[in-house]
């Protein structure tokens, strides 16, 4: 059963502000253009910061939901690809096996 917390914002509010500042920096704009050919859009971080402050100060439900929605979109964007391989449930068995020993066949 999923534990419902939602007592604090997903990140500390200062984190949103530092992400916003970093996003808008000249260096980051350059890297973004070099990688994607566009300038980054940073407005969402600023909105998230304001919603975070609102949540902390007044416990507003609207602010809380807006922030959580924004973060869920961020998570979805990061997972927006079909993986090429299957993830492991356990690490490879021979990772720590000493080199001069017979290694078990890794599956």
């Amino acid at each position: 059963m999923r534990k419902r917390c939602h007592i604090v914002p997903p990140r500390a509010c200062e984190d949103y502000w530092s992400e916003f500042r970093h996003c808008k920096s000249l260096k980051n704009c350059f890297h973004h253009y070099y990688t994607y050919g566009t300038v980054p859009s940073c407005q969402q971080w600023k909105e998230d910061y304001h919603n975070c402050r609102e949540w902390e100060k007044h416990r507003g439900t609207e602010a809380k939901e807006a922030l959580r929605r924004s973060e869920k979109i961020r998570v979805a964007e990061q997972r927006n690809f079909i993986p090429v391989w299957q993830l492991r449930q356990e690490p490879p068995r021979d990772w720590h096996v000493p080199l001069n020993q017979e290694k078990p066949q890794d599956s």
């Binding site: 990140r11 890297h31 690809f81 993830l87 690490p91 490879p92 720590h96 000493p98 080199l99």
Partner: protein, 231 residues
Amino acid sequence: MDQTKQEEEYGYDLFPERKPGEHKKTSIAESLFTFNHKCQVMLQFAVETSEYQLFSLFLSGCSKVFKDRHFSCEDCDGTVSGGFDAASSQIVLCQNNIHQQSHMNRVVTHELIHAFDHCRAHVDWFNNFRHLACSEIRAANLSGDCSFTNEVARFNFGLKRHHQECVRGRALRSILAVRKISRAEAEKIVDEVFDSCFNDHAPFGRIPHSKRDAKFAYRDYMNRDRYYANL
């Protein structure tokens, strides 16, 4: 499979000190008359950087990377800088081709990404070219190989979206160096998996272009429990 054929098919011929399934300890003579000592010293500096500390936390289920077990300084053929040997779970550093600390740091990061992929997924390094291509794309993308300054140093002057061109090119080169397939075939495989693998930024959650990116990635990692509990 015949030993020599296996060596050539899987790129082991680039690493002549390394036979599949065998382990050779470096002799004192080798230490004195090769670049082995210099490699060891540079490796020591590399593992003391904060990026390395960060990375070894990320190594999913493998929990720890030990310098003495998981790294090996060896002479290699050609211009190859390093490799990841899945058979022995070792990162190979080419002592005869790495002469600067910044290069060592970059090679260590690049190979750690392969190690990370090996630890978190069933990567079929030897038989599945798509898996190999994917890991090479990710390593070129996330290690700083394709930074603007590194590309300029190679006289590759590009700006808009050049990072992606570089990643594609370097992944292709890496595949062609260790596998006997045609360039056209390799290009096709890279094209097939590029979109998926270029957008897989694990474990950083972003492409780490700068120290601040790495610092924020670390912050996100340390904060992950609070983050997912409050989504």
